[in-house]
């Protein structure tokens, strides 16, 4: 069934969109990533203009995150206090990120900058996660002593301590604020919710239990992407509500299924899978940069700012 999208101004297959939304929603519910880093390239691929894809992708992530958070909430796996602290850091970071983005745009190298940060951060995080999760998986298989979920380091000596009951942590608010700021900064530059950076950072830097990480990350993503969607709708008018609706219907169902599957998997398995996914996207972007493209030229409607 073909459907004409009023803002994107293309006609696409409605079932294809439902399917795309479903896949991304599934991953979102399972790993706690918003899926922005997947949905945007997929939309490019089916012919949606890039600006519309970025803005509408953010709108879809809002829906799947709400659905995912509600599912996690039933399992009491959302740390609202931690989420709020991360969010405060996040807004500060994205403010700086938007400023840097504009500065890079003026220099005319924003594309390269965005792609390189994708490769660098996705590759680094993916490799680190894979290495760590594989090691703990093998250790669990051998039946040796399980490593403690968090180790006391200099981080625990910082002032302004706060109790995060849902995470079982009593740490300074400074590290979560810094993590939030870093993710907000990356989100603004790379145009994604930042879940794939947030999830590993919560596990490894803050020492949060994997159980609450997914819900807390999604809680935080709702607000970041809602803000992004709204800004796009007001400033560039590139949110296609009909496209979003189809992606959302697929996405919210996928998120529920993903959450159910995610609960059945072991924490190490979940991390290995997310690491592989992140690495795959990173390798794909790296190849795009290294291999000579078939068509050197590209045509974009509109004039560059």
């Amino acid at each position: 069934m073909q459907l004409y999208l009023p803002i994107a101004e293309v006609s696409v297959n409605a079932f294809l969109l439902l399917g795309l939304g479903g896949i991304v929603g599934f991953l979102s519910g399972m790993f706690g990533v918003g899926g922005g880093f997947l949905i945007t390239p997929l939309l490019f691929f089916i012919g949606v203009p890039p600006a519309v894809a970025v803005a509408t992708g953010a709108n879809q992530v809002v829906a799947s995150s709400v659905s995912g958070v509600l599912a996690q909430l039933r399992r009491k796996a959302v740390d609202f206090r931690m989420g709020t602290v991360l969010l405060i850091g996040g807004f500060a970071g994205s403010g700086v990120g938007i400023w840097v983005f504009q500065w890079m745009t003026r220099l005319g190298q924003v594309d390269l900058f965005v792609q390189l940060s994708y490769v660098l951060f996705l590759g680094l995080i993916g490799a680190m996660m894979l290495q760590e999760s594989l090691r703990s998986w093998f250790r669990a298989q051998k039946g040796g002593p399980v490593r403690r979920s968090h180790v006391h380091t200099w981080v625990h000596g910082l002032p302004l301590k706060m109790k995060f009951r849902a995470s079982g942590l009593y740490i300074s608010v400074l590290p979560p604020l810094a993590v939030g700021a870093l993710v907000g900064f990356l989100a603004a530059i790379m145009g994604v919710g930042g879940g794939f950076v947030m999830v590993p950072a919560m596990i490894y830097l803050l020492g949060m239990p994997t159980k609450v990480v997914v819900g807390t990350s999604l809680f935080q993503i709702i607000f970041v992407t809602a803000f992004t969607t709204f800004m796009h709708a007001v400033t560039s008018q590139t949110v296609d509500i009909l496209l979003a609706l189809l992606l959302i219907i697929g996405g919210v169902i996928g998120a529920q299924v993903g959450t159910t599957v995610g609960v059945r998997l072991k924490a190490e398995q979940l991390r290995i899978l997310l690491a592989l996914l992140v690495l795959a996207v990173s390798v794909k972007i790296a190849l795009d940069l290294l291999i000579r493209p078939g068509e050197l030229y590209s045509v974009m409607p509109g004039v560059l700012p």
Partner: protein
């Protein structure tokens, strides 16, 4: 008074042969296209006949039909290898390039239209695109314009339909032009040319209005006129859908 009218009519008739005594009588299957939610491209039939006051002169007559979509600004970018990676380097901005252009003919354009006539009427694809103003930032904008032509031909936005006009008995002509599903709103200009020995004998202009209708119109207008309301609507929709899915699944699996 009446004498004057007859005189001017006669003058017009005398003047006619100089412009060619052959004229176009044309029609179209529709002069407006509505883009609704189920819009999936549209086919326009352009038909007509050659009207003659005298027997046809020697030599074959040819027909050219063009359809041109509204012009939009376009940025063409080129990738280059810098320090081992492929990045966009140079770009050319074109103020106004047609969002759609189809040219259907009875034969090869080069043999039925002279260069001068093409230059004057801007019929062939390179002429149409070259006519647009390009802001030069790169060394050679011609390469960029040519690349745009190639890319848009591949996308089906630009079409060259050689032999796309049926011409019966040197009198009746018809052509089906397919408008793609990714249409831009606006006025589509249809031009019909009669040529003989490469010269344009007569030309006619028509307009097809392409407009979003119904839900498409409503959503588009809302997004432009009330972006705040539109943004909030998108978010409410997303939040509601997220909640509904969660609540629905709880019913299925308590």
């Amino acid at each position: 008074m009446r004498g004057l009218a007859i005189l001017s009519l006669m003058a017009a008739l005398v003047a006619l042969p100089a412009m060619g005594s052959e004229g176009i009588v044309a029609g179209m299957s529709q002069n407006r296209v509505s883009i609704t939610a189920s819009f999936d491209g549209s086919e326009i039939l352009i038909y007509g006949a050659v009207k003659r006051d005298a027997p046809a002169p020697e030599g074959p007559m040819e027909v050219i039909i063009t359809v041109e979509g509204p012009a939009t600004p376009v940025t063409i970018r080129k990738k280059d290898r810098r320090a081992g990676i492929w990045v966009n380097t140079e770009s050319v901005e074109v103020d106004a390039a047609p969002s759609f252009y189809a040219v259907a003919t009875t034969g090869p354009l080069r043999s039925i239209l002279t260069e001068t006539e093409d230059l004057r009427h801007r019929i062939s694809l390179p002429r149409v695109i070259r006519a647009v103003g390009a802001a030069t930032e790169a060394g050679d904008p011609a390469d960029f314009i040519e690349a745009m032509q190639r890319i848009r031909l591949n996308e089906g936005r630009y079409r060259v339909l050689q032999g796309g006009v049926e011409f019966t008995e040197q009198t009746l002509f018809r052509s089906d032009i397919v408008l793609p599903s990714n249409l831009t709103e606006g006025e589509y200009r249809v031009r019909i040319f009669l040529t003989r020995e490469g010269r344009v004998v007569d030309a006619q202009d028509r307009v097809i209005g392409v407009r979003k209708e119904g839900l498409e119109r409503f959503l588009f207008n809302l997004s432009r006129e009330q972006p705040w309301a539109y943004g909030i609507l998108s978010l409410v929709l997303a939040a509601f859908a997220g909640w509904a899915a969660s609540a629905g699944f709880r019913l299925i699996r308590p």
